[in-house]
């Protein structure tokens, strides 16, 4: 892919330096990984199961501390939970005992926002993902797709600089997953949503090609970066039956094989 080298590269939002993760004392499951993510970039991590892509995401989100190496967020090394990032989970991870609105507001509550502003902001993102009217529902009363919408609203509501998504569509049926992908891309392009940098972990090459600016391919045992593909030259919207898109997908399958 030809990347426009003349465009001045925006500052790095996230930088991983020699990150390694060990299981126990001896077994290295991930790394060493060096990776940079630009401001306002949509980056995907793909790879076979066991390549540590979810582990890597958790390290970026700050819920897991790497055994070796540094994570820098806007230049500063990450020491604790990454408060400038928010995460969307594969199994939604909603609090079953909280109503939709309280689930969405959870991150705002822990950031100490007063109740009224909390409510206002939660409502804004509930409306944005199209769940208006379900504020008082409990997660168990929602379909899987709607649950993930709550998960998305919860992450966006804290207005993070970086949105981390861990296989967010893989627990959904095909049709719902497609609608959700389009919604995420719409929100990404929309001026109403502050969050412009997205880190997506997926095992689907089609998904990665359809959505991202750049794809990092990982291989397993231990998880390492195998390759990197720049997709900024690929015009959007990327319908799967476009020859250019199909060609890219095929090429990436070859990379992974």
């Amino acid at each position: 892919m030809a990347s426009p080298a003349s465009v001045a590269a925006p500052a790095a939002l996230l930088r991983l330096e020699g990150v390694e993760q060990f299981y126990g004392q001896k077994i290295r499951i991930l790394g060493p990984i060096d990776l940079e993510m630009r401001e306002a970039e949509f980056l995907s991590l793909v790879g076979p199961s066991g390549c540590g892509k979810s582990t890597l995401l958790r390290i970026v989100a700050g819920v897991l501390t790497p055994t070796v190496g540094t994570v820098r967020m806007g230049g500063r090394p990450l020491k604790d939970v990454n408060t400038r990032a928010a995460m969307v989970f594969q199994s939604f991870a909603l609090f079953p005992w909280l109503k939709v609105v309280d689930n969405v507001a959870v991150g705002l509550e822990s950031r100490g926002l007063p109740p009224r502003e909390r409510l206002k902001k939660a409502q804004k993102y509930i409306d944005l993902v199209g769940l208006s009217g379900y504020e008082r529902a409990y997660p168990r009363e929602l379909s899987r797709g709607m649950k993930q919408l709550v998960g998305l609203a919860r992450a966006l509501a804290v207005e993070p600089e970086l949105l981390c998504m861990d296989e967010p569509f893989s627990a959904l049926d095909v049709l719902t997953a497609r609608t959700m992908r389009e919604l995420v891309l719409d929100l990404w392009a929309s001026p109403v949503v502050m969050t412009k940098s997205i880190l997506l972990v997926t095992h689907s090459i089609e998904e990665a090609v359809a959505m991202s600016d750049r794809v990092v391919v990982l291989k397993a045992n231990p998880g390492r970066i195998a390759d990197e593909v720049d997709l900024r030259g690929l015009p959007r919207p990327r319908r799967p039956d476009l020859p250019q898109v199909r060609e890219t997908v095929d090429r990436m399958y070859a990379l992974l094989a």
Partner: protein, 558 residues
């Protein structure tokens, strides 16, 4: 932005509770200041409500203590591997030890601390009830926290839930179902030990606290049938009432705290579902229990958040348990080295054996009755819910209530041996039945249909499907019953009724005689220690391996 803090009832509730506790405490304290070789309780039935109130207050204080400490230790064990290594084995050992046997030691301790003041007796009673309530609550908290879905815990961390917020939004809601389920067990235990804790005797000294338990015990001992029946009536009405008006609504409220896709958590008990049809119960749930529950979570979260902020004394507590065990061991050592051996010590092995036979018999009979009964219950889909509700309420009646019945049987001449086993069965049986019935209900419908399609009916179904399916739970029930059986031995092998002593040879009787009659601490310590050792030995060498094998082979897996 001068946004006012939202009005919260938790502070008011806390204040009211505090004032109430002080008033009750002062009152109890003053009444305790009478000479504690108090002759007799006033037997007038008009005083029964007051006695009931005293007993309820002791139970409630012990319960709140138990819940608080269970939350702290359970969370600590779940969070820190170091604490876990200390806490879990300690809980495990203390849980399998017959608490009743330790009563005299604990009483001696508290009375010593308070220099013989009667407040010490009151403290001792609360402590004894507490020990009967605590273990299963702590294990319940620990288990529900380690089975918390991983991504949920991660999400809580990622969205920055810490301190109080983490308690109110994640931990407390997650442990509510198990806490509630275990509360039923704890209260049943508490009622069971109430009698033993309100009449405390060490050697020749006898302390009686005013309460329902002591009233009942006195009525039985002296042989006043009229009062016995009355006290029993109050006891049964109270337990049943608590089920209907407190636990039922709480369980209905707690439904929102269950995870959807997880089979190994206690599900909504049937009783709650049956009760849920009642208008009164639903109204109670909505207007009283649910708001109170939310407030309780908020208030507890605030408190526990503060505790978490100063985490060091949690670690101190984790050290306290093993440390106190050590002290006990040293005391025992001193007791035996400094004095000549009592001749009664020689009889202990035979005593132990006789009691072992009784407990084992109780386990076998419980299992033999439970399996067909659970089968019958599981088959009749129509009465299942109602039957379970009735059984649950029956089970909540403390076994001590059956005392008078046994005494009547004794007068008819069934023999003390049979009476002891029978009395033990009244506590042991329920543990087995509940576990087996629960497993029977959990047999997947598809498996039943498959069995039917294959022509497995009657005894063949029982052998090929039913028994294997309930086996792990049967073992769990038997282990619990086995533990309860030893407590029962202390209670059953030596009875005082109608100014007569009924006894049969066994370790329980030896312990009781040494505690209540002769006061030889050496015999108390030796029989206790040998009993504890035997129980732990059998747990490790029989129950643990059996359970592991059965669980591995017969676990229900999709």
């Amino acid at each position: 932005m001068a946004s006012r803090r939202p009005a919260s009832y938790s502070v008011d509730l806390g204040l009211i509770f505090l004032i109430g506790a002080v008033v009750v405490g002062l009152h109890l304290g003053r009444s305790s200041l009478r000479p504690y070789d108090a002759p007799e309780l006033d037997p007038r039935p008009a005083l029964l409500p007051l006695y009931l109130l005293y007993s309820l207050a002791r139970l409630a204080v012990a319960y709140l203590l138990a819940v608080g400490l269970a939350l702290v230790t359970g969370q600590l064990a779940a969070r820190s591997p170091f604490a876990r290594r200390l806490i879990l084995p300690t809980l495990d050992v203390l849980q399998s030890v017959p608490i009743l046997g330790f009563f005299p030691l604990a009483v001696g301790f508290f009375i010593g601390i308070f220099h013989g003041s009667a407040l010490g007796v009151e403290m001792a009673a609360v402590f004894l009830i507490f020990t009967s309530m605590f273990w299963n609550l702590a294990f319940g908290v620990y288990e529900s926290l380690i089975t918390l879905p991983e991504e949920l815990a991660l999400a809580a961390g990622q969205f920055g839930l810490r301190g109080s917020l983490r308690w109110t939004r994640l931990i407390l809601p997650a442990v509510v179902p198990s806490l509630l389920y275990n509360s039923l067990v704890s209260w049943a235990n508490g009622w069971y030990f109430l009698i033993a804790s309100e009449i405390i005797a060490v050697g020749p000294a006898r302390y009686t606290l005013p309460g329902l338990g002591s009233y009942l015990a006195q009525a039985v001992t002296v042989g006043r049938n009229h009062e016995t029946v009355l006290a029993l009536g109050v006891l049964i009405a109270t337990t049943v009432g608590m089920h209907l008006l407190l636990w039922g609504p709480l369980q209905i409220w707690a439904e929102r705290f269950h995870f959807e896709e997880s089979g190994d958590r206690p599900r909504t008990p049937r009783m709650a579902r049956v009760l849920g049809r009642s208008r009164l119960v639903r109204w109670l749930t909505r207007t009283v229990v649910a708001p109170a529950g939310q407030e309780a979570i908020a208030a507890a979260g605030k408190l526990l958040g503060m505790w978490g902020a100063s985490g060091w004394w949690g670690g101190a507590f984790a050290l306290l348990l093993p440390a106190s065990l050590l002290v006990a061991v040293f005391k025992l050592y001193g007791l035996f080295v400094s004095r000549p051996a009592s001749p009664e010590l020689a009889g202990i092995p035979v005593d132990l054996l006789l009691s072992l036979v009784r407990v084992a018999l109780g386990v076998v009979v419980s299992a033999a009755v439970s399996i067909p009964l659970a089968w019958a219950l599981a088959r009749s889909t129509r009465v299942r819910g109602a039957a379970m509700a009735v059984i649950q309420i029956l089970a909540s009646i403390p076994a001590t209530a059956f005392f008078p019945l046994i005494v009547i049987l004794l007068r008819w001449g069934i023999g003390m041996n049979a009476a002891a086993v029978l009395l033990a069965l009244t506590t042991m049986f329920w543990y087995v039945l509940f576990n087996v019935a629960g497993a029977a209900y959990a047999i997947p419908k598809q498996m039943d249909e498959a069995a039917l399609g294959l022509g497995l009916r009657g005894r063949r179904y029982l052998r090929r499907v039913f028994v294997p399916a309930v086996l792990p739970s049967l073992i769990t029930g038997c282990v619990t019953a086995w533990g309860a059986g030893w407590n029962a031995m202390i209670l059953c092998e030596y009875l005082e009724a109608g100014r007569r002593v009924y006894q049969v040879r066994g370790i329980g009787a030896t312990l009781d005689r040494a505690t209540y009659v002769t006061g030889v601490m050496q015999v108390v310590a030796a029989s206790l220690a040998s009993m504890v050792l035997l129980i732990i030995l059998v747990n490790r060498s029989v129950w643990d391996p059996v359970y592991r094998r059965v669980a591995e082979r017969y676990k229900m897996e999709a």
